[in-house]
C-alpha cells in the first residue's frame, strides 16, 4: 500500500516538475546591459483610441513599460497581474504602459476590453523596439523611476511578485 502511495506521489512530482519546467520564468537584467540608470528612450506612439502617448509626460511617476502581444501566451498570462498591480499602486504613483507588438490594433482592442485592462496601451513598432535594445522576444518589461531612468529590465515571463517587488523598491526610493 505504501508503495502505491509513493508511486502516486512520484507521478505527481514528475507531472508538477514537467509543468513547472514548461513554464520557465524569465530573467532580470540589471546593470549596464539593462541600460540601468540610463534615461528611458522617449517616444510618442498612438494609443488604441488614436491619441498619442508621450513617455516623457510621465516624469514624476514610476512607469512599468510592458512590451507584449495578444498572441504571446506568457504576455497574456501576465496581464491580469498587471491590472492588479496598477490598481494596487496607482495612488502611490505607478503608471503601467503597455506597448503592443501586434501587427494591427484590432485584436489589441478586443483583448483590452475582454481583460478589462486599466492602463494605456500604445501600438509599438520596430523603431521603438530597437531603441529599447531590441525587443526580439516577448514579454519584456522595463521599470522606470520617477526621473525617467531605467531601473530594471525583465526578459520573458516574470513572476508577479518579482515585478511588484521592483515597483515597491522604486516607489519607496524616491
Amino acid at each position: 500500500m505504501r508503495r502505491r502511495i509513493l508511486i502516486g506521489a512520484g507521478l505527481l512530482f514528475v507531472a508538477v516538475g514537467v509543468y513547472v519546467a514548461l513554464h520557465g520564468r524569465g530573467r532580470i537584467v540589471r546593470g549596464p546591459t539593462a541600460q540601468q540608470h540610463s534615461i528611458a528612450p522617449d517616444f510618442s506612439l498612438p494609443q488604441l483610441n488614436g491619441q498619442f502617448l508621450q513617455l516623457s509626460a510621465y516624469r514624476g511617476k514610476v512607469v512599468l513599460l510592458d512590451f507584449w502581444a495578444t498572441w504571446c501566451t506568457p504576455c497574456r498570462e501576465e496581464i491580469p497581474h498587471l491590472v492588479e498591480l496598477q490598481n494596487k499602486y496607482r495612488d502611490r504613483g505607478l503608471e503601467i504602459i503597455g506597448v503592443s507588438m501586434d501587427d494591427s490594433p484590432d485584436p489589441v482592442r478586443e483583448f483590452y476590453q475582454r481583460f478589462q485592462m486599466n492602463y494605456p496601451v500604445v501600438m509599438g513598432n520596430a523603431d521603438i523596439g530597437e531603441r529599447y535594445g531590441g525587443v526580439l522576444g516577448l514579454p519584456i518589461a522595463f521599470i522606470i523611476d520617477r526621473d525617467g531612468r531605467i531601473y530594471a529590465k525583465h526578459i520573458g515571463a516574470t513572476e508577479a511578485s518579482v515585478l511588484e517587488q521592483d515597483v515597491r523598491t522604486v516607489l519607496a526610493s524616491q
Binding site: 500500500m1 509543468y19 520557465g24 498572441w71 525587443v135 526580439l136 522576444g137 515571463a157
Partner: protein, 158 residues
C-alpha cells in the same frame, strides 16, 4: 467502507491526473509537441545557409511583423502569426504554388519555445498541405538570444 489509505492513494492519483491534464493541455498545439525529427537547430541552419552547395530552404517567419522588421534571417519571408486566420491564409498563399518536396524552414522566436503559439500550427498546416521537407527552427528562448546575440546573419527592415 473506503479505507484512509485508499482515499490517500485516490487523492494522489487524482492530483497527478489533473497535473498531467494541465500539462498536456498546455503542450498540445504548442511547439513542445512538435516531433524532434521536424526540428532544426540554429547552428545547423547556419551551416546550410553558408554552404556553397545543397538546396537552400525557403524560410518563413511566422511571428509578428514588428519583430521581423527589427531582425530576421536574411532571405526569409514574412508570413505573420499563424494563430490568426489572416496569418494562416497568408501562409497558404506563400506556399501554394511550390512543389511539395520544397525544403521549407519555419521560425518564430517570439517567446520561449515552451510558449510559442505559432510554429506548431504552421508546421501542421504545411504537412497537411502535403509538404514533406519541412523543418522548424528550434529557438529555445527567443530570436534575440538564440540567433542575433549568437552572431548569426541578420537582416533588418522589410
Amino acid at each position: 467502507m473506503i479505507s484512509k489509505r485508499t482515499r490517500r492513494i485516490a487523492l494522489a492519483v487524482l492530483i497527478s491526473a489533473l497535473s498531467a491534464a494541465v500539462f498536456l493541455g498546455q503542450a498540445l498545439g504548442q511547439a513542445t509537441s512538435i516531433p524532434s525529427s521536424h526540428l532544426i537547430n540554429p547552428e545547423d541552419l547556419v551551416k546550410i545557409l553558408q554552404a556553397t552547395q545543397g538546396e537552400k530552404p525557403l524560410m518563413l517567419q511566422v511571428g509578428s511583423y514588428v519583430l521581423y522588421a527589427q531582425a530576421h534571417i536574411p532571405g526569409s519571408e514574412y508570413v505573420g502569426p499563424v494563430t490568426s486566420e489572416a496569418g494562416m491564409q497568408q501562409l497558404h498563399r506563400q506556399v501554394d504554388s511550390l512543389p511539395k518536396k520544397k525544403f521549407i524552414v519555419l521560425y518564430c522566436g517570439c517567446c520561449p519555445w515552451t510558449h510559442c503559439p505559432n510554429v506548431k500550427p504552421a508546421d501542421d498546416a504545411l504537412r497537411a498541405m502535403g509538404f514533406t521537407n519541412v523543418k522548424v527552427l528550434y529557438i529555445a528562448s527567443n530570436f534575440g538570444a538564440d540567433w542575433v546575440e549568437k552572431g548569426y546573419p541578420v537582416a533588418k527592415g522589410q
